[in-house]
């Protein structure tokens, strides 16, 4: 097995990735401003609190992405012979687990308040000498938190797919959850103004269910990635087309009689084993294997450290190749 090229991604992907890092820095700055502003006008509204907690929470994927971006390109060392790519999977798990816990906590809290029939009220506030109903500045803060979230989320989704970065995807999802949350919170605040005591708590319950569902889906996906599930594209549970591409490529090689491919995600990369049964061509096998490994790397930038293992037979009685499950 050879030591792989230093560059992690092709130049155009590298550029896109650097843009994503910049975008995440802006996301973080914007979220901090929204959290601070919202903290100032928090009041008693349950939906407002829910929106605020979700904003705090939505810092996590952005932070996880930026922290992971520091480590993921570090070179492999003696203690970490596989490098640091998997920090991306770990970051994804951390962010999604926090999301889940928060969703559950929020649900319990707002459902409890609905149960004891808590009646929040919103009074007056003095702004530059004018007395205004506090609900209006609250709504202004919520709109401020919603509009950029829509824009940022829309920008990140296609990037996440091209970069095969699930943390970025989770963050784009989080931005979507953010603006949905804000809309529901506005409904809650207007509900209080309209004298509907339950509107606020119901809006908070809806928000918490959304967060919980999001968290569950992401935690499940993050766990599955760490359990070496087949690679899937961000946000979809469908197998990557790349698996079929690799299979086709290997089986098309002249010296390969039979082949079996087993791939898994390795952070934002894809790695695994290709078991082949070589034909007797007379060419030296080590060189053929080496060539195949190099070819695979040329096939897609995500394919890294895929190992090609020549065997006399794929599935003989000694079970030499681990049998991949039925697909």
């Amino acid at each position: 097995m050879r030591v792989y090229a230093d560059h992690e991604m092709p130049p155009e992907v590298e550029r896109l990735y650097r843009r994503a890092v910049r975008l995440e820095r802006w996301t973080l700055a914007y979220l901090v401003s929204a959290v601070a502003l919202m903290g100032l006008v928090l009041g008693q509204s349950q939906a407002m609190k829910a929106a605020w907690v979700e904003d705090l929470l939505s810092l996590l994927p952005a932070i996880a992405f930026l922290v992971a971006s520091r480590f993921r390109e570090r070179e492999a060392s003696q203690r970490f012979p596989y490098g640091f790519h998997r920090v991306v999977s770990a970051a994804y798990l951390i962010a999604s687990f926090a999301l889940l816990v928060m969703g559950v906590l929020l649900f319990a809290d707002s459902a409890y308040r609905l149960l004891i029939r808590e009646r929040p009220s919103i009074g007056l506030v003095e702004v530059f000498g004018f007395q205004v109903w506090l609900g209006w500045p609250m709504i202004a803060a919520l709109v401020w938190s919603a509009v950029p979230a829509v824009v940022l989320g829309r920008m990140k989704l296609p990037m996440a797919a091209r970069l095969h970065d699930k943390v970025l995807y989770a963050d784009a999802e989080m931005n979507r959850a953010d603006w949905l949350t804000a809309v529901a919170a506005i409904v809650g605040v207007l509900g209080i103004g309209a004298g509907l005591w339950w509107a606020d708590a119901v809006a908070a319950v809806v928000i918490s269910l959304d967060i919980t569902r999001d968290g569950l889906r992401n935690v499940r996906s993050a766990f599955a990635d760490l359990m070496d599930r087949i690679p899937t594209s961000p946000g979809e549970e469908q197998p990557l087309e790349l698996i079929a591409v690799v299979e086709r490529h290997v089986r098309s090689l002249a010296w390969v009689r039979e082949a079996e491919v087993r791939l898994r995600e390795h952070g934002h990369l894809v790695t695994g084993e290709v078991y082949v049964v070589p034909e007797e061509t007379g060419a030296p096998l080590p060189h053929l294997v080496q060539e195949a490994v190099d070819d695979l790397q040329q096939l897609d930038w995500r394919l890294r450290e895929v190992v090609v293992v020549p065997l006399p037979a794929l599935h003989d009685e000694r079970g030499s190749a681990p049998r991949p499950g039925k697909r």
Binding site: R119, G123, L124, E126, Q131, V183, W197, V206
Partner: protein, 233 residues
């Protein structure tokens, strides 16, 4: 999820339309009931803010009467201890509780406090002719019986001396800032504590709360001071 939001938004539109021109609205329609009706006010004994004993009087009692005049309501006074009045307010048996409540009081889970309308400070002062000490450490400071204030003085390093009337006598004395002129005292710049005065309204009654807060926030500080002078004398 999206359809839930749509249902919520629809319900909201209905709510807003039925709300008509009044915004924000009460859950239980307190403001509508009070207008031209009866305003039920719980009074906590806390001079000079409120005293219920022989016909209610006090600064906040007089302010409530002004508010009642504005909304055309008759006031029905209910004297009692803070805890029972707060629970009455929570259950809707009262519309308002007054009597020296401050923003730091612990009742916010049951009821809603208005924004503070006046801040009073407990300060160390000296009689008009005496020189003001720079610092109270080691000094004897007189006060009227008040265990909390006594503790504050002790932690400031002063030697508290409880007297029946802080108005007379010589040497430093701990008093409320609004009493200074009344007793011919002069502040020393040492502040022991401050209190943001609030009233309590029933939670969920946003319309009523806004009406009360509008009244309180428009109060002239000089007017409050005048009432304190009259009621504190």
């Amino acid at each position: 999820m999206r359809s839930w939001l749509r249902v919520g938004a629809g319900a909201l539109v209905v709510g807003v339309v039925t709300a008509g021109c009044q915004w924000p609205r009460d859950v239980d329609g307190t403001l509508e009931r009070v207008r031209g009706g009866t305003l039920r006010v719980g009074v906590v004994e806390a001079e000079p803010w409120a005293a219920a004993a022989e016909g209610p009087r006090g600064v906040e009692v007089r302010l409530v009467e002004e508010l009642a005049g504005r909304v055309g309501a008759e006031v029905s006074w209910v004297p009692g201890a803070t805890a029972e009045l707060v629970s009455g307010l929570h259950d809707g048996a009262l519309d308002l509780v007054v009597g020296g409540l401050t923003a730091q009081d612990p009742w916010t889970a049951e009821v809603t406090f208005t924004r503070p309308y006046v801040t009073t400070r407990t300060v160390v002062a000296v009689p008009g002719g005496e020189p003001a000490p720079e610092d109270v450490a080691g000094r004897t400071v007189r006060l009227e019986a008040d265990p909390q204030l006594e503790g504050l003085l002790r932690s400031a390093g002063a030697v508290p001396q409880v007297v029946p009337d802080a108005g007379g006598g010589t040497g430093p004395v701990a008093v409320e800032d609004w009493e200074l002129d009344l007793h011919g005292l002069r502040g020393t710049g040492v502040e022991l504590q401050s209190a943001d005065h609030v009233w309590a309204v029933r939670s969920g009654e946003s319309g009523w709360q806004v009406e009360v807060e509008r009244f309180l926030l428009r109060l002239d500080p000089a007017h409050v001071q005048r009432l304190l002078d009259e009621e504190g004398a």
